[in-house]
Amino acid sequence: MSARSILTIAWHEYLVNLRRPGFIFFTLLIPALGLLGLIVAGFFSGQAMGFLENQFERASQQTGLVDQSGLFTPLPAGFGGQYQLFPDEAAARQALLDGSLSGYVVIEPDYLETGDVTAYSIGGLFDAVNAADSDTLRLLLVHGLLAGQVDAAVLERAADPVNVTPVTLNEDGQPTGSTDIGSAIASFIIPYVLSIFLIISIFTASSYLLRSVSEEKETRVIEVVLSSVSATELLTGKVLGLGALGLTQVLVWLGSAVLLSGGLAAVAAGVAVALSPRVFALSALYFILGYLLYGTLMAAAGALGTSMRESQQLAGLFSFGAAVPMMFNSLIFASPNGTIARALSYFPLTAPTTMMLRLPLTNVSTLDLAISLGLLALSIPVVLWAGAKVFRMGLLLYGKRPSLVQIVKALRQA
């Protein structure tokens, strides 16, 4: 194995694919979308202000209240400005139609048992919800139910019972990170977005790997290449060159994110890195391992297929494995330490993507990491070894897809 050959191949693959219009377009697309998003947000914030003002105007109209339960007549103190009590529904309806109310709420006769309340409006669902105005209504109802029956302080607390401060503990029982909501979000959003970038770039690089192998086979240039370098040198060179390409892509995205946010993202990232170097290091590790795994499988698919299209179909099987965690995205998001998330973390084909999603969300247990990395570490050499053999065998079988028997035989040959 000659390092020189491998580096020549790697550098060539890197440059040739870097120049491809498709790559340039896709890499610049993300920052372009980001830029577009900023512009649109800026434009709309002007609009948004107008819209919100509109809402406030609406809210300056009163909401009617029809109390059929009898618990809220007269209105609890302090709500007279926003709510107006009506003796019956007909009167309230009339006032709504006259335009003096934005909507009205009927408290059903069995409210105490059922909590049933009906909200009426003219404008549509949004207006009806608005009319219900649940926060203020909730306050009114609590006040109405408890006034005079409990201490004033208890009443206030019942009306606004909770004010949450989230604190995460690490394995030693020490609080990690600041308890400020803002940086808590930063320390999860940044790594999460980074994970998505890494996942996308694994697949971009792997698909280039497939295409590169398939093309050399289709154009028949592969035979001359194999008379100059060994199949293993070729595979290694391609994997390295295209891995570097994937990294370049991620760096462009990160760089543009920093630029677009006016450096804000860098600060937040800096904070995030300071908070969890572990997450970043592990994400980087999974990126490398994930790329090695998928890259080799894609290269083998490229070598086995008799045409680019067929290779892509073969590769589709492996891509599916990687896509599965994305399909379970919301589940992983909701319970990152749940059974499904953990199972997906162990199975080598889904492990890299799953872990890259889990790591920013939660403290993944050392056990999970050990099993996940362990299985990956076992599977990668196997995949590399088998992939290289299949690669070597498949490359020269023009027009014939090797049967499973032939593949197994090739694997047995030293």
Binding site: S5, V224, V225, S228
Partner: protein, 303 residues
């Protein structure tokens, strides 16, 4: 040091159910143009791939430039039968890369690429993409690619495929130049007339074994009938020493009886005052030898 450029002894290779190479033995001397011939499916391509270390043999000894296959990769040039170039790359870029894969430095490879493109009359096409070249041009570019690293041994598998007579002549010239530079060339082709013009020694492979091996001149003598070609056709039937007369492609072939001398026939023609344009000893063409041997082998095909 006169060791052969190529040494193959008792080479064997099978795939699944097919025996591709079945005890093949031959060698190629330094500085000669050697013909590697055989019908389709004879095992030539497999043998060549083994020489290039693309396939591994099941058994046998192979020495390329005195070393095991693959060890002297950078000194061997290869033009495969199933060949192609990177379609989307520029021609000179493609050749440069292939040169780099053979261990050349980039600048040196670039220079050589330009020289070779000049030699095959593609200098104006260096900056174009490979896919823009016609088939014949691509063939010439591929030949250039096989020579870019100035190899000592060059293996050409069907180099004349798809070339018009002018380009075929150019390739012949290049092959002769290479020989003049002291390089060894192994040529595998189906155009027997071209092989005859170029090769000094040949091996004819059939069913994975060597069925003919040696100097072309000797083989031709071996297969040549004791016959003369005469034109214009003359009425020589029944003359002393004449065994049979046949007309082939407008030429008269007079087969002599064993022991009869051509000059006796010539003397007889002059004595009778007949005019003569051409009187030539008939030698078997390589084409005829090929067909004779392969057809003969067909009778002994292995089950």
């Amino acid at each position: 040091m006169n060791e052969p450029s190529l040494y193959v002894e008792d080479l064997r290779k099978s795939y699944a159910t097919v025996v591709a190479v079945d005890g093949l033995t031959f060698q190629v001397e330094r500085g000669e143009i050697f013909g590697l011939l055989g019908p389709n499916g004879a095992g030539k391509t497999t043998t060549i791939r083994i020489l290039m270390d693309i396939f591994k043999p099941d058994a046998g000894t192979v020495r390329v430039l005195g070393q095991p296959p693959g060890a002297a990769r950078q000194r061997v040039g290869y033009l495969p039968e199933e060949r192609g170039l990177y379609r989307a790359l520029r021609v000179s870029e493609c050749l440069t890369y292939l040169g780099q894969l053979k261990g050349m430095a980039r600048a040196a490879a670039q220079r050589r690429a330009e020289e070779l493109l000049e030699r095959v009359e593609l200098a104006d096409w260096g900056k174009r993409k490979v896919e823009e070249l016609s088939r014949g041009m691509q063939q010439k570019a591929q030949l250039a690619a096989s020579l870019i690293h100035d190899p000592d041994l060059i293996i050409l598998d069907e180099p004349f495929q798809g070339l018009d007579p002018v380009n075929a002549e150019m390739i012949r010239g290049i092959i002769r130049d290479l020989r003049a530079q002291g390089k060894t060339i192994v040529l595998s082709a189906h155009e027997m007339s071209l092989v005859e013009m170029l090769c000094e020694r040949i091996v004819l492979i059939n069913h994975g074994r060597a069925v003919l091996n040696g100097r072309l001149a000797d083989l031709k003598k071996q297969f040549s009938p004791n016959a003369i070609e005469i034109s214009p056709p003359l009425p020589v039937e029944g003359w002393p020493g004449v065994a049979s007369v046949a007309l082939e492609d407008g030429r008269q072939r007079v087969t002599l009886t064993p022991g009869a001398e051509p000059r006796d026939l010539l003397r007889e023609i002059f004595n009778r005052g007949l005019s003569l344009d051409r009187f030539e000893r008939a030698t078997a063409t390589l084409d005829e030898i090929f067909v004779t041997v392969v057809r003969g082998e067909a009778g002994h095909e292995r089950p």
